[in-house]
């Protein structure tokens, strides 16, 4: 007999309409137990809506949510195996840290001694033991979010929903808390579903990332794949710093496809995608994979892996420097290089060549 544990979360054909407005259209996603899953996407994409529907805070217009294989459409939030960490510092202002964390257990009717044990353990896990007697207004933003985490994990529910838990924190603290979240998840071993529109945050914590935009689930994949090998051009434009080029297929016979972009013929792997000659497609190359070199002649390169353009300007970003190059058709391309901007730069308008490795350019058809 083969026994398979059902996925922690399975969302089937989920849609949510607000009047005429479609916030989610037909979303399908499966999240395994013990996974750190991130919902990433631009503002207004529908991430919160999806998360809140999973948590039972709002009803879907159509579709189903299964948690551990059971349909939970009829259950209120507290009857689901989920618990939520809110974006704002959503603590009870009049209770101290211990009371805040223990309140859910008190409501559940656990004996006092057991509550005290569990609360102490949860506070220890989030590193707040010293602050047990403080009131929320005596804590920093990061500490308040940790109290929320403790309040959630103490309930022993096995799916934790986090709606932009770090959004209100400053950049440095956010980085630290990201790692802490990741470690906490590994320690407690439950499923985390984390909403953010910050891709660095997503990359840090995620086992898998789902990209959500305009109510659609655009793409799901491991963090590394989403970054390195995006399937959809939207993913490429949202994650990392990709150059997205539009072009027309001029030859689609063989393992590689030839695409006309701004007068140049570029080669790109076909990856068994359904393309035909004359089709409009999109190409993406991450800016850190584009090398920049000055040229003297202005003969168009014919290797299919480079383009000519006019040097525009450089933007010094500390670790890297972004060089902006304008293509003949006016499109701007970026070449990001780890180097100091002190190096002599091409003058504005000078002809330059952009080149990349064959594996770095990707074809998107949709």
């Amino acid at each position: 007999m083969t026994f398979q544990t059902p996925p922690a979360v399975e969302v089937r054909n989920l849609a949510k309409h607000y009047g005429d407005f479609v916030a989610l259209k037909n979303v399908n996603v499966t999240i395994a137990a013990g996974e750190y899953f991130v919902l990433l996407g631009p503002s207004g994409g529908g991430k919160t809506t999806l998360l809140r529907t999973i948590g039972g805070f709002q009803k879907p217009t159509s579709g189903d949510v299964f948690l551990h294989g059971k349909s939970v459409g009829h259950l209120p939030p507290d009857k689901r195996p989920t618990t939520m960490v809110f974006q704002a510092y959503a603590l009870f202002p009049h209770m101290n840290v211990t009371q805040n964390v223990g309140y859910g257990l008190k409501v559940a009717g656990l004996p006092k001694a057991q509550i005290a044990d569990k609360v102490a353990h949860a506070l220890d896990q989030v590193g707040l033991t010293k602050f047990a007697q403080r009131k929320p207004h005596e804590l920093s933003g990061g500490q308040q979010q940790r109290v929320q985490l403790a309040r959630a994990i103490v309930l022993d529910r096995d799916i934790l929903l986090l709606d932009e838990p770090l959004a209100a924190l400053d950049a440095q603290l956010r980085k630290d808390m990201c790692l802490e979240l990741k470690h906490l998840q590994e320690k407690v071993g439950i499923t985390f579903i984390h909403v953010t529109h910050n891709q660095e945050e997503a990359m840090t914590v995620a086992d898998r990332i789902a990209l959500i935009a305009n109510g659609d689930l655009v793409e799901v994949g491991r963090a590394r794949d989403i970054y390195r090998a995006p399937e959809k051009s939207f993913t490429a434009s949202f994650v990392g710093e990709n150059n997205v080029l539009k072009g027309k297929v001029s030859d689609a016979n063989g393992v590689s496809v030839t695409v006309d972009v701004a007068g140049a013929k570029l080669q790109v792997a076909k990856r068994d995608l359904p393309v035909s000659t004359g089709q409009n497609v999109t190409l993406s190359i991450r800016s850190e994979c584009v090398a920049l070199e000055t040229v003297n002649d202005s003969n168009a390169p014919t290797d299919g892996l480079s383009m000519l353009g006019a040097y525009d300007e450089s933007v010094y970003l500390g670790l890297t420097t972004s060089h902006l190059v304008r293509l003949p058709d006016g499109t701007e391309m970026v070449s990001r290089i780890i180097a100091d901007a002190d190096d002599t730069l091409p003058v504005n308008g000078a002809p330059v060549r952009l080149r990349w490795k064959p594996t770095d350019i990707r074809l998107h058809v949709e």
Partner: protein, 304 residues
Amino acid sequence: MVSSPTNVTNGVRPVGSMQTPLHERLALWAFRAPLIFMVLFFAIPMAMTVVFSVFERTMFWMEPGFTLTAYENFFFSARLGNFLNSMKYSLISVAICFVIGFPISVFVRKSIPQVAQHRVVLLFILPFMVSEIIRVFALRPVLQRNGLMNTALTNMGIIDEPITALLYTHTSVVIGEVMSFLPFIIFSGFLAMEAVPKFIFEVCDDLGVGPWRRFKDVILPLAAPGIFAGSVFIFVNGLGVALLPNILGGAGAVNAGLIATQAISALDFPLAMAVSAIMMATLMTLLWIGHKLFDLTKILTPLS
């Protein structure tokens, strides 16, 4: 620019040798203004009330002296019982107003769209546009023996005989007080709910906090300062507003305000002063006891 060091050390304005500028002196007085206001309009009148209450009564006014006749008149007559009763019934009014009014505030905050909330609250304040005398008088035909209430109850077959205890009793005074003061608790409750952030309700949903616990453990402590203010206001008015028992009350159904008013009509000014002094003393004692029991500063600032 670097200024010369001697200039800095010797440049301090000599204290006292120059007049402080006018605007600084004005600013100082602005800080003192509330104090002056409190002294002029609270401390002095209160002290005068106490002083006058021990003056000798004359035919039309009073003259300086020291006598406790007024207090004797109060404590050794039916007035004391009436006064204590009016405290009891004021408390009942506060309780009824709270039970009816506060859920309305919570409902408005929780379930009415943000943009409409203030308009809805204004609706509850509209009755104040009608003169209080008219509003209170209008209760008489409702509550009297052949009034609306009795007729309706009889017609519905709930009672066989009209209830006569509805008017000119404590009941009618309480009904009048609830009608008059309910908007205050709704309004102060509405403001008090500002201290209860909306996310709290979602957190409660998530933790499975039932309605009663939610009210007792979360809403009440957070809204306590506003509710407390509204309740004190209603209690004080229940004790002090003579109009209500004057129109709706009857034998024994009076309050401190009416006792004092009656004393003034009888030209017994020291007695009126004594009643007022006793009322102030009672309120202060109640606040003090409340403070000892519940630590009012804590109720008034639940977040610290």
